[in-house]
């Protein structure tokens, strides 16, 4: 009898063992958050990359910037610099640093001093000065700094005293501060760099990161996980969670399964949105990203050299169907090149109407009453701002057929596509733009200015002196309201001239368990786990109430901070 009796007891005890697991694990899991990420970071230094995955994993978790974007309006506020001063001519910018900022204390580095001017100078000189001993470490490419041509703008970085740094610029540039607040302009530790130079392990600076951010790196297993610990001596309130784990799960279904099985608290880029919203213990959130998907014209080529033809086409396209078919409703209709979340967005711009009759009469006015044949280049790959350009092109094709325009859809391999676009071989094209920081200039200048036609980022080849003058003026005035006015005028010009038809601003999605509170997503740049907290699962009723309350608080908090 003994044996037979043992079997059910053994099974029972096994069940009990696993059942009590949920209750027991809480104490650790309550203080930790697991994030199911879509990929591995290439490096732990955001200066070296532009990839979103790397920025997500590093920038706001490990590092701080001199200044940062704050609040819903994304205005610039103090971070490592407690204040800053810009001289009247806009050419000298002085930063006053905080005196209580500690670097991470990890298994591989023990800081002996607080943050000072040397760290700031080291971080920027590394990226900007070709002769800096650390410039060539890890490849010597700093894509963001190269794109905005910061090395030409910054003449010198001067140390006034231990806690004061002055940037000398070659000309006034209002986007400079915005660039310093972007996710790429992080502050490294000069003391750590010195130690590594002595140890002859310079490249460790990018693989074993030391920063001042709310979390420090504990462990990284390539392709598997990144483990962060809370930075206990963070210069602000320490983060609420003690441990942050990035579970690297490239498969879309894998992330969904883990989310549904509660193995991750937050999941990046979830699929099956309906399945997630159906569950009452999970929630789906989205932010409209700072990007724009558009339909552009090569204004150097007939018939698109005519403003009337471009206007006609803008009336003939049904954006609503494009949004439903291509973005599956996961995007906002674009009215101008700026998304609503930008502070320079102009509410007064009227909505683009869908009006084929008006389109036809405009075409007749332009002298194309019998219509014409045109080429439309559609990008071959999926991008956040346009998940399926070929489908979009087909829909545009059928829209334009109604006003007697025959469209040939053309596509090349992605790199060839971009190169041929730069050479201006196209008539019209589908493309998009993602901004690096919320300053509106990151849309206006690179997309449509005359200088951008030479740099190859303005492939409409539209060059308008009036527009250029507006955006230049906007860059030279420090007053936000004046800048707003200039940008509104620039947008009005765009609306008249229609070098491109803005179609959509896509959204970025994220799913999380309802017990995780605090903002993670931002409309631009990387995610941020600093404000995340976790509620106790066992007190369910009070939990949800609390979470709502907490979330409200968070919003207020970000507004004030």
């Amino acid at each position: 009898m003994n044996y037979l009796k043992l079997v059910p007891t053994a099974l029972l005890s096994l069940l009990l063992l696993t059942a009590c697991n949920e209750g027991g694990k809480l104490s650790l899991s309550e203080r930790s958050v697991i994030y199911c990420a879509e990929g591995s970071p290439e490096t732990f230094n955001p200066q070296l990359v532009t990839s979103g995955t790397t920025i997500d994993a590093t920038s706001k978790q490990l590092y701080d910037k001199l200044i940062s974007y704050q609040g819903d309006e994304n205005t610039l506020g103090p971070a490592l610099a407690k204040s800053w001063h810009v001289t009247g001519d806009g050419k000298k910018i002085t930063f006053y640093l905080r005196k209580n900022v500690t670097f991470h204390h990890t298994d591989y580095f023990t800081p002996s001093r607080l943050l000072n001017a040397d760290d700031v100078i080291f971080s920027f000189k590394r990226a900007l000065d070709i002769e800096h001993p650390y410039h060539l470490v890890s490849g010597g490419r700093y894509p963001f700094f190269e794109n905005v041509d910061l090395s030409a703008l910054v003449d010198d970085i001067e140390k006034i005293n231990d806690y004061t740094v002055r940037f000398h610029l070659s000309r006034a540039d209002n986007s400079f501060l915005a660039n310093l607040a972007s996710d790429f302009a992080i502050i490294l530790s000069a003391e750590y760099a010195e130690q590594l130079t002595k140890k002859k392990a310079k490249s460790d600076i990018d693989t074993h990161p030391i920063g001042t951010g709310p979390f420090k790196l504990k462990e990284y297993r390539v392709g598997s996980l990144i483990r962060f610990y809370r930075h206990e001596k963070y210069w602000q309130e320490p983060a609420q969670i003690e441990q942050l784990v990035f579970d690297i799960t490239p498969s879309n279904t894998g992330r969904l399964t883990k989310l549904l099985a509660k193995e991750c608290d937050v999941a990046a880029y979830p699929i099956a949105h309906k399945k997630i919203t159906e569950r009452n213990d999970l929630s789906l959130e989205a932010v409209t990203a700072l990007n724009v998907g558009y339909f552009g014209f090569n204004v150097n080529k007939a018939p698109f050299d005519s403003k009337l033809v471009r206007q006609a086409i803008s009336y003939a396209i049904n954006k609503k169907t494009l949004l439903e078919a291509v973005y599956q409703g996961n995007a906002e209709m674009a009215n101008s090149i700026l998304p609503k979340t930008s502070w320079a967005f102009d509410q007064s711009i009227p909505k683009q109407k869908f009006n084929p009759v008006l389109a036809k009469s405009l075409l007749t006015l332009a002298g194309y009453s019998d219509g014409f044949t045109m080429d439309l280049w559609a990008m071959p790959i999926q991008r956040p701002y346009n998940p399926n350009a070929i489908t979009m092109a087909k829909l545009i094709q059928s829209d334009l057929k109604n006003i007697n325009i025959k469209v040939n859809i053309i596509s090349y391999e992605w790199n060839t596509f971009l190169q041929r676009l730069k050479r201006g071989e196209h008539q019209s094209f589908l493309l998009g733009w993602s901004a690096d920081h919320p300053d509106p200039d990151s849309f206006f200048t690179p997309m449509l200015s005359c200088s951008a036609t030479h740099a190859g980022t303005n492939t409409t080849f539209w060059c308008n002196q009036e527009y250029d003058a507006m955006i230049k003026k906007a860059l030279q005035t420090p007053k936000i309201n004046e800048r707003k006015k200039y940008y509104a005028q620039a947008m009005a010009i765009l609306r008249q001239e229609v070098p491109l038809i803005p179609i959509a601003h896509s959204k970025r999605y994220q799913a999380r368990g309802n017990n995780v509170t605090g903002n993670i997503l931002a409309p631009f740049g990387g995610i941020n786990f600093y404000q995340v907290a976790k509620l106790n699962l066992t007190s369910k009723n009070t939990g949800t109430k609390q979470s709502r309350k907490r979330r409200k608080n968070d919003i207020i908090h970000t507004g004030v901070n």
Binding site: Y3, L4, L14, L17, T18, A261
Partner: protein, 342 residues
């Protein structure tokens, strides 16, 4: 017993030689150069290539090449993975314990469920209970494991939320790998969350182990049933019952012991089957074992990893066979005779 051991040992050595011969010749059949397939050094500089050619004796005839290859294996050098350029033997040392752990737990579950059920079926021979158990085992045997695994995840992880769906342990716990066997490592660690980690690890192993256990359990049911029926039919059982022993006494004192001996022999055989099932299950449950690694290597056409991985895995299964043979021999003196020696 000494003769028995020697026989097993010689069998082991000859089988291993045959296996290495096979994996050695496979290098010439895979696409690409044999020396690259052998060493996995796809990015080797000309100088390194010369060194490699020297190490693997490629200038001499095929026999010496084979000897050189054997030398590398005996020294624990299985080459580099073509995909990740990391040392294959370290990777295997890191991954194999996870597979062993999973397989052993699955085997335990299969035995705990299969053998008693088989005995019950035999005792209730030709009655509805017997038929029920047999049909359930038939069903269990025919269900494909990948489907069962997905179904288990869908039901127990996603819908009911009882068990986790992936991995060996929650990523929150930091357990230093000493032996590689997770449970032992947890017990040895000085983490303050030791028991939480232990519970979490058992929750993680439960679903995959059960999924793997289903097929072998059904085989154990049939084996236990047949062997019990045979035992119950023997004259010593009849003698015992003639002596006036109760049915319970007969089953527990005489029948079970004798029936078990016959089953133990088959456990070794079933283990090979079980490891194959475990390889597929590891992929479904993202278990960090050698099966998942091997299947990924097949996807990536990582010939060096495939060849070395298979060699290690077959070696491991063979060792298990020999071990069960020893246990069998220890339990059953009859088996030590010449008749069963080979």
């Amino acid at each position: 017993m000494l003769v028995f051991t020697l026989r097993r040992l010689s069998l082991f050595i000859f089988t291993m030689l045959l296996l290495t011969l096979l994996s050695f010749s496979v290098n010439f059949l895979f696409p690409g150069e044999a020396i690259i397939n052998l060493s996995g050094a796809i990015n080797a500089t000309p100088n390194q290539l010369i060194e490699l050619n020297e190490a693997y004796q490629t200038h001499r005839n095929i026999f010496w090449q084979y000897i050189a290859y054997l030398g590398h294996i005996i020294n624990g050098d299985l080459g580099l993975s073509m995909a990740s350029q990391s040392d294959i033997s370290t990777e295997i040392v890191n991954l194999l314990p996870a597979t062993i752990e999973l397989s052993l737990v699955a085997l335990l579950i299969a035995m705990l469920i299969g053998i008693p059920l088989g005995f019950i079926a035999a005792i209730k021979h030709n009655k509805p209970t017997d038929n029920l158990i047999l049909s359930v085992s038939m069903l269990g045997y025919s269900v494909p494991v990948f489907w069962l695994g997905l179904l288990a995840i869908l039901t127990f992880s996603i819908n009911l939320g009882w068990f986790p769906s992936a991995g060996q342990i929650s990523l929150l716990f930091e357990i230093e790998a000493v032996t590689g066997i997770q449970f032992i490592d947890i017990l040895m660690s000085d983490s303050p969350y030791k028991w939480q980690a232990f519970n979490d690890a058992s929750a993680h192993i439960f679903l995959p182990a059960c999924v793997i256990a289903v097929a072998p359990a059904t085989i154990f049911i049939r084996l236990a049933r047949t062997s019990m029926i045979e035992v119950l039919d023997t004259s010593y059982i009849r003698a015992a019952s003639a002596k006036g022993l109760t049915f319970r006494q007969i089953i527990f004192r005489h029948a079970i012991r004798n029936a078990l001996i016959k089953i133990i022999r088959h456990i070794g055989l079933q283990f090979a089957n079980l490891v194959t099932i475990a390889m597929v299950t590891e992929v479904i449950f993202s278990w960090p074992g050698i099966g998942r690694w091997l299947i990924e290597s097949i996807y990536q056409r990582d010939y060096t990893a495939i060849e070395s991985g298979l060699l290690v895995l077959s070696c491991f299964i063979f060792i298990v066979h020999i071990l069960t043979d020893f246990i069998y021999a220890a339990l059953n003196p009859l088996a030590r005779g010449n008749k069963y020696g080979a």
